[in-house]
């Protein structure tokens, strides 16, 4: 295994079209669950030019105004005026209601242990969960930094420091590793688009972003950019007016950004736009939860947990662990311990994380907030799968 290498991960801001679609899809999931915790919904979005496409398949008593959800996300993200905005956007909705009762899910919060087997996996999927000791959030350093930069970049634009920034932006961080430990920031790259007709000029903008975005992110960090670190800010020249008017977006196209920045394996299945019944979404959370606790328990400094589900089975058909040679105990032993202490059955995941009720219990929506800056390692959200509550049990 190569131990010395340079690795880059990227993140995008909420205004990026792909992320916009993820947020719209998850806002729809939130809205359904908020009104009807047993709702079943798949929502996919695509956006291009002035048109938003929504495809929703659902079973629910309640009526959700999908275009309205889309418009409110678009507007909250900061698209106003210009070529693409909430009011003028044309929203094309494709609605299919599943035939009612037969597929209607239950409320799993009260499900007793004996009934957990009744909900089977509804998809064939292999998912991965990962945790490592690069950061307190137990995320790989490159993606963690990329998210931090993206968040700062977006907030600089939306909170008013740098009002000329468009909500669409992209960040990338390259980190040098020695012996699989991050040692140095190799490069930082920001792509920040400008609102039309407002830009301070390339030089001033570089200075602004260095000061308002990069410096605050690295303040207090152990590893900081050094003299040699290459910093690219809009290296390709000014980028005026980004967003769907310039490039199109699609739900589920940023799965690496949603997970570990490609530092390790991740499932190809999209996370956003799926209700908690979808095993390909929630198993990723459960796998992450297991990995976090393995690292927290000190069993390894890096841990990848793999879960494979088959259609019609409640338990995963395969549970694997890879500690990348950092383990203090045998991988087989780790598998045994997590199998004992984690319940990976779909109904158990829903019940234990309260995934049906979180949207109504969380101000401003639950899934929607996951749709930006990653679903994992979110120290800002107090997510159930980030808890180290089982670390002691694994020791």
């Amino acid at each position: 295994m190569i131990k010395d290498f340079m690795f880059t991960s990227e993140s995008v801001t909420p205004g990026h079209p792909d992320k916009l679609c993820d947020q719209i899809s998850d806002a729809i999931v939130d809205e359904f669950l908020k009104k009807d915790i047993t709702a079943k919904v798949r929502a996919e979005s695509a956006v291009s030019g002035g048109v938003v496409f929504l495809a929703a398949r659902f079973v629910s008593d309640v009526e959700v105004d999908l275009p309205d959800m889309a418009r409110s996300v678009i507007s909250e993200v900061g698209y106003e005026g210009g070529d693409f905005n909430a009011e003028d956007a044309t929203v094309m909705t494709n609605l299919l209601e599943y035939p009612a009762e037969s597929t209607r899910p239950a409320d799993f919060s009260q499900t007793g242990d004996s009934d957990l087997n009744r909900l089977k996996a509804n998809s064939q999927v292999t998912v991965f969960g990962f945790a490592c000791d690069h950061t307190p959030a137990m995320m790989p350093l490159p993606i963690w930094l990329a998210h931090a930069l993206a968040r700062r970049l977006y907030e600089a634009g939306s909170a008013g420091d740098l009002p000329y920034l468009h909500p669409d932006g992209k960040t990338q961080v390259g980190v040098e590793f020695r012996d699989r430990k991050p040692v140095r920031i190799h490069s930082i790259s920001l792509l920040a688009s400008n609102r039309e007709g407002q830009h301070p000029g390339p030089k001033a903008m570089q200075d602004d972003l260095l000061q308002a975005v990069i410096e605050p992110v690295f303040a207090g960090q152990e590893i900081r950019p050094d003299e040699e670190t290459e910093i690219y800010i809009n290296k390709g020249g000014l980028f005026i007016g980004g967003g769907p008017a310039h490039h199109s977006g699609l739900t589920g196209r940023k799965t690496a950004v949603d997970t570990y920045g490609e530092y390790v394996r991740h499932s190809g299945a999209a996370l956003s736009g799926k209700d908690p019944l979808r095993i390909d979404r929630i198993a990723q959370y459960a796998a992450r939860h297991a990995a976090v606790n393995v690292v927290a328990a000190g069993l390894a400094s890096q841990c990848e947990v793999q879960l494979s589900y088959s259609l019609g089975q409640a338990n995963p058909v395969s549970i694997q662990v890879d500690t990348h040679e950092t383990g203090n105990v045998e991988a087989g032993e780790v598998v045994e311990r997590i199998t004992k202490h984690f319940d990976f059955r779909p109904a158990a995941i829903i019940r234990n994380y309260d995934l049906q009720r979180l949207p109504s219990a969380t101000e401003g929506g639950f899934y929607r907030r996951l749709a930006c800056y990653g679903h994992m390692g979110r120290s800002d959200l107090n997510l159930p799968w980030e808890q180290t509550d089982k670390a002691d049990l694994l020791k």
Binding site: V51, R57, V62, E63, D88, T90, V91, M92, L95, L96
Partner: protein, 1059 residues
Amino acid sequence: MRKVLPAISINEPTQVGESGTRNLKIRLVHTRVRGRVRLNINRLYRSPQLKQQLEQGLRGLPGIRSVQASVLTGNLLVVFDPARPVDDILGMVHSQLGIERSAGASRRARAAGGSDIRETLSHVVDLFTQGLRSPVAAAVSGAALSPGGGAGDTSLVAAEEPGSNWHRTGIKEAIAALDTSSTHGLSAADAAVRLAKYGPNALPEPEARSNLSIFLEQFNSLPVALLGVSAVVSVMTGGTVDAIVILVVVVINAIIGFFTERAAERTIRALTGSKPQYATVVRDAEAETIPIADLVPGDLILLNPGSYVPADVRLMQTDRLSVDESPLTGESVPVTKDADFMAEADSPLGDRKNMAFMGTMCTGGTSRGIVVSTAMSTELGNIQSMITTAEVPETPMERQLDHMGTQLAVLSGVVCAGVGVVGLLRGQGWIPMLKSSVALAVAAVPEGLPAVATTTLALGIKEMRKRRVAVRHLDAVENLGSVQIFCLDKTGTLTLNHMTVVALHTGDRRYTTSEGQFLDHDGVVDPGSIAELRRLLEVVSLCSETALAGDRNNPDLEGSPTENALVESALRAGIDVRALREQNPRLELRERAEGRPLMSTQHNAGRGRRLMAVKGSPAEVLALCTRFEKGGEVLELDEETRKAIIKENERMAGDALRVLGVAYVEGGSKQRHEPENLIWLGLTGMADPLRTGMPELMSLYHRAGIRTVMITGDQTATAAAIGKQLNLSGDKPLEVLDSTSLDKLDPELLAGLIKKVNVFARVSPAHKLKIVQALQRSGFVVAMTGDGINDGPALKASDVGVAMGKTGTDVARSVADVVLQDDNLGTMAVAVEQGRTIYRDVRKTIHFMVATNVAEIEIMLAGIAMGYGEVMNPMQLLWINLFTDIFPGLALSLEPAEPGVMERPPRDPSEEIIRKKDLIRMLEESAIIGAGTLGAYFYGVKRYGGGLAPATLAFNTLTIAELFHSIRSRSNQHSIYHKKRMPPNKYLNWAVGGTLAVQIAANYIPPLRTVLGASRLGLVDFAVVFAGAGVPFFINEAVKHFTTARQAPPAIEGAYDTD
């Protein structure tokens, strides 16, 4: 439309300025062709006198070959000896007009020599500078409307001839020129004088074709010409009797054609009939409504949305006036007008924003304006005068048939010639060959073909009128048959446009209403006997701003649709709302406001008690309640009940109902201000209910392969719920397009997007045009309903615009192709069925005519090719044409709808009326018929050797075979082997029976037999005849049966997919 060619516009008109001869302008239009010159003389326009002067004066002058002057365009065309210079000719023209040219102009013109046209044109500017001297001048000067001014102000007025330059005239100048007032309008006396001077403001009705011309036109066709030639040939070859018979056939044909065509023409004429129209003008400072015929130049006119512009108007004050000018410019997007705008001199009509033109229509806003020209002086009149004859426009189907008829005539001509040549080569004499060719020509020509379409379409219109569907254009019938997408307005078309309480929830029971009755899940209930329901209805009647006016028993409700619905529901429940309000006088009313989504009223309930009635957003009202009523008791409102109510609210909202929560509280005399501690009564759910039978109707359209699309201003959630109720998408996902700014979307993109859309949400009526155009761009034939003023453009743009007869506006009705007189969308299905049937009937008739005519050709051709000479004589062929072709053909065009016609997808609009595969089928069938007839002929040859018998056998066989074929032509799918019968066509029964009787007569009445050159046939012969005719029939039916069984009509769902 007036088109200003660039070549003309570069040269300024020549002006002739002298007292009394103002405004003479002459332009050189072109000299491109040697020996021809076209001039435009403004005074020639509408001056027959000048036309005569010029034509007579110029003709006969040396070098001039012909002269043509048009009073419609003002153009003068002179054809002259190309050897003569153009200049000479111009000289002659101007001397006719009594003008002398300046030497300079003459020289320049000569120098140009007509070679460099642009230069010549620019030089013509000063060609004519002298005044008019000839008597023509007098005729010229009085011809047109020349406003105001004395004799002296020549140059200015001449340059600004207001006849066509009002768009360049300021408002004040226009008022002055027309001697009117911007405030008082004209005086009644002045208006009367002007009316006498300018005549009524009416365009002459295009003259209908006279009976004689319809009759004569029957002879003006290629088939008749061929028959005429045949008659002449017959006379030359000694066949006088033949010639007479041919002429009789021609005349009989013409008579039948005359009657059917006249009936059709009458039906079509009736479509264009219009009611008298009125306009609002100011005269003597008073607004009054006058018939538009009484309008005169100078009238001060008021334009309102929905009104036609009755004359050409110079606008004075515009308030967001928008005008649909499509009748004039073809531009379907309404133009916004602006009185203060000043147009360029030669700007096209569409850019003259300070003018409104006759025949256009106000779609929005208002305006005052001055009438500047009326009747034939208007732009519309100008266009109309260019249309010389009042032809009913041909529909695409008629054009196709015309084309096909000509092709067939040419083809048969070629075949005739071929037969003649083959016969000659085989050594037959000239005369018999010529006769045979003639006979063949007579046989082959499908005389009635082009008339079939017109007749059938017109009959269809008549039939639809009986079913309360008024079709206003002939080609709409055709389009009806091919409609692929039906766009429906939600409000007023699918719904009643009347908000109604449809669901209630009190205590823990649900109620629905239907036709004024209250029902729970067990059936009808008496709302008076259920305490909380009665109370709820009383509270909503009190907490309401709806006023009750008029009749005590059947009051008019004046208020918002929602509150009216609630009060109406209370009245239906037998509550005396008036009395209730009198007993509980209102003390205070607090309306719903931002952040307070409920309305509360306080009432003096008598005996010192106060009642607070509250209604509003269910969640908000429920939050203020602590108790609720159930079974007449007031109970504590526990969490469980609250949840149940919230759940019920969501369920009702999910059904696209507008839901309100109702509560009340009674107390002592202490005045409360804010509602609190209320007693919950229940929920009311209101909707603009769908008309009955709509979901069934939608599925009827779906089965017929017609996609239904709903257009509504509602939000997506509501729209989707209704779309679901209507099952607009069948079993496919419901696609909703939600946009308030369709106009900002790239049209190509829109066209791509909307291929599968079922519901357009949040769409304003103005965007309907975009939707129609986008659907058409995707290649669909679109029908659209509309009843509002601004639906006009969309109705016109759609292939079939549908307006409602009762609720629609006049504007919508006047531009629609189809008016549903009883507002019943279901009759549209009838119309579609008729449209499809008519198209199929035309096809059937053609199928019959072509197949039988081709069979005749084949038989004759085969006989000659095989050396038997002519199988039938011309008389026999004519006989077949006269009886067996015409009557069954006509009867076929009256076939009733085939069963299942509404179970099939619409036809492909781009497909020809006769497809290649139809043609092949006709050829196959004609060959089989021909074989049967030839079989009978050969039997005759074998048995009788020669003489009249073989031909007689062939003649009878073919006649009967053709009658059989008319039965075969009734359907392309349905054969006699099907278990189910086709619906009977009594016309065809009569036609077949009658023809059969005539045929028997031909065999048994000796003189007739002699003329036909037939012999007497025996019983065996008749058996052979029926075998020769019947066997092909059974074979053809079998072929049909098995080919259609193989290609069974496709299942509708799969057949119509727009992917």
